[in-house]
Symmetry: C2
Subunit: 281 residues, 2 copies
């Protein structure tokens, strides 16, 4: 299997390393608008060769894996599908799936595209952040699988399982709604918390000293890549706004209880929130 990675950062890079480790790669190629990242990716063993044009890379590959910001995926994907010959497949790893699936819904080569979202990551980014065990035991969500050629789906499922992932199937917009609540919202609260604290506590030493108080964990996601996350929020705007409004309603309700000294309600609010323990422990 020859795979062209468009995007060799944390996610794409780790997937390449994991495929290689499990003997699933004959060769990995890379294409990027940023050639510096490709040289680094070759040095790190993520890819074996780089292509000067995307077209050359596509012509060479069995699979093309897109692991770039979601707005870039929406833009590139139709043109890539145009160029595919029978037997080739393109898989995207974007964190939103609705606008991407919609963009190619009526494309004549739609069946050569598989929409995937590996639920894994760290707060770091770039080829340097990639490592071959990132996906161990993690979830790979496939969206709108019935629109994809069965051979592509089953070989990608097999590869994902081989690198230790569990598979899950979801409709693209349902995926985006769940992710808005469970992932995108967490990132927004982390970034907003970080901004509020940085504005108040100009003296970073105090933040650092007190960070053991739980702050570091709550704000960890604010270290994520803005270039990756701004497009996620924009592409998933409606569902993110719905989730954010639900969150703001909760925070405002808490504010009112506190301001009005309703300590029983404050306690109940915390007890309800603590039920998350039963779910994720």
């Amino acid at each position: 299997m020859k795979v062209l990675f468009i995007g060799t950062g944390l996610i794409g890079g780790s997937f390449s390393l994991a495929m290689r480790k499990h003997g699933l790669l004959t060769a990995a190629g890379g294409y990027s608008r940023n050639p510096k990242n490709l040289d680094k990716s070759i040095a790190l063993g993520i890819i074996d060769q780089k292509f000067d044009t995307m077209e050359a890379g596509i012509a060479w590959a069995d699979w093309i894996i897109l692991s770039i910001p979601v707005d870039a995926i929406v833009k590139l994907l139709p043109g890539i599908l145009d160029q595919l010959k029978p037997g080739q497949g393109v898989i995207d790893f974007g964190s939103t799936k609705g606008t991407i699936c919609d963009a190619v819904a009526t494309h004549p080569n739609r069946s050569q595209f598989l929409a995937a979202h590996p639920i894994a990551g760290t707060e770091y980014s770039g080829p340097d952040a990639a490592f071959d065990t990132l996906f161990d035991g993690k979830l790979m969500i496939l969206c709108n699988e019935n629109e994809t050629d069965a051979a592509l789906t089953s070989s990608f499922r097999m590869a994902s399982e081989k690198i230790g992932m569990q598979l899950e199937s979801m409709e693209a917009h349902a995926h985006d709604r769940h992710l808005a609540y469970i992932s995108h919202l967490s990132h927004i609260t982390s970034f907003a918390l970080s901004n509020a604290v940085l504005e108040k506590e100009k003296d970073g030493d105090i933040i650092l000293e007190l960070a053991g108080s739980g702050f570091a964990s709550t704000v960890r996601l604010a270290k994520s890549s803005p270039e990756m996350w701004a497009p996620i929020f924009m592409e998933n705007k409606d569902k993110v706004l719905e989730a954010l409004d639900d969150f703001l309603d909760q925070a405002q309700a808490f504010r009112t209880m506190l301001k009005e000294n309703r300590s029983d309600e404050v306690l109940k609010f915390l007890e309800q929130g603590r039920l998350i323990k039963k779910v994720i422990d």
Copy 2:
């Protein structure tokens, strides 16, 4: 040194275990309104003996360490100071310090009280959660030290250093303002996030599957004890409201940018938030 622990949960229990490990305890006693916790604490080696009345425990001890909800500290502390004989000292481990210090500011035995806040913890609670290395390398903040007898302060400093802690000195209300931003606010956003998600995602399986997406880290603090945290928010109400309002302003600003498709501003918001990386990495 004979120490009476009023509260032998995560914090008090861990401090007793750490003192014992470093040879700082002759004996540890416990008093609680909940005798069940005391029997468990004896079984876990946190204390050697329990007292049926607080008075008996106080008469026996060199130090009394209060590690109970902050509203209970405010209530109990003046009565405890009333009973102290020369040479005895009482130290509280509450997460807010302003109302506690204010409550005893003019007490004739004020100098026998030391206001302390160990910046350590996990999301678990109770004697079972206690362990003897919880405080290794962590910060112990002492508030309004100049109002405390120098002998008590220096022996408590020595004990804290011996168990591996760094010491920091702060004015009580300044402490509460910093903690409102860096700790209390983090807990509120975690609880609010948990409530918003639990209300939407009634199917816990989906939450569990997608929790790898960063959610688990952001919501970790929502597993904290409501009985400990409700009083913290109430006792530190004014400063918590100030911090919460700053946070809500940030979240609302983000909401407006997103709703109005101002993608450059969204990116800038994330880039600013990401500066936290420089502080805590």
